[in-house]
């Protein structure tokens, strides 16, 4: 009732299992640096190296992970804007592609992971000031330094995004 994979394009359609494995492992390790779970890296890596978009079921099968993990991983990647939904031919199944523009990836990470932390930092620094009612010099100097760090980070992010330009 359905074709498992159509082998009708002009280029090679062989799957280099070894290479795909290297890429999956690469991303699995890489995302750990960003504090994301390994499974998210494996999913992104699979999509990054795949010739064609993959469905949740494809990913779950290839990676030998539970459907729950796959669903949650894709959710995170969607939130980060690291994957794009592609309307598949077959029924209502959704296929995913990796977003591969570094600018978009970094942008999504900044928006979802960094900005919220900077916002909450602002609030917390405000509380510190409230707490230093006597305006003790030493404490005040340190809290001010913290706030300068925060501001610098806020200024740097748009610059970073600009440098990633394109």
């Amino acid at each position: 009732m359905m074709f498992d994979s159509k082998d009708s394009e002009r280029g090679s359609t062989e799957v280099n299992v070894e290479l795909e494995e290297l890429v999956r492992v690469f991303f699995a390790d890489a995302v750990k640096v960003l504090g994301l779970p390994k499974s998210v890296g494996e999913i992104y890596g699979s999509l990054f190296i795949s010739r064609e978009p993959l469905s949740l079921d494809d990913l779950v099968e290839r990676l030998g992970m539970s459907k729950g993990s796959g669903s949650q991983g894709l959710k995170m990647l969607r939130t980060l804007g690291a994957v794009t939904e592609v309307e598949g031919i077959e029924g209502r199944k959704i296929f995913y592609e990796a977003e591969t523009e570094l600018k978009s990836l970094v942008g999504g990470f900044i928006r979802e992971e960094i900005r919220p932390h900077l916002s909450s930092a602002k609030v917390k620094i405000g509380k510190m000031n409230e707490c230093n009612v006597s305006k003790d010099e030493h404490y005040d100097e340190r809290v001010k330094k913290l706030d300068r760090w925060r501001k610098r980070a806020g200024i740097l992010l748009p610059i970073l995004q600009r440098v990633l330009g394109k």
Copy 2:
């Protein structure tokens, strides 16, 4: 046989327990973003807000953590260049100060955490190329993209450090 703390300077020596707590918690949360253990943030936060340098024993007492954790945390902070050793008056006990120059902190993090990852990425991308013997177009394009990301990161880091200037 020893003085626990000398209260002889001209400024205030009151300890704002509430504020110090806020700062500790702030850093405990902050370092998690960088993938460092909470205890490391607590130690750094304690040193950051403290009026005077603290010894391992001081930290262990204030934070209610084991000596093992404290020792390991300080080791990590030393490696990152986030703390400075200060020769104490008392015996051979070592006192620590927080390094508070953002440039140094970021520099240490880049040197210890980011550079090593970029190096290993270079090796891994080399392996991917070896693996793509048939120079398949799709695979080659993706691996090249990965390598461009790596190079861009390598270029960006010195720029970042430069912008943090001062």
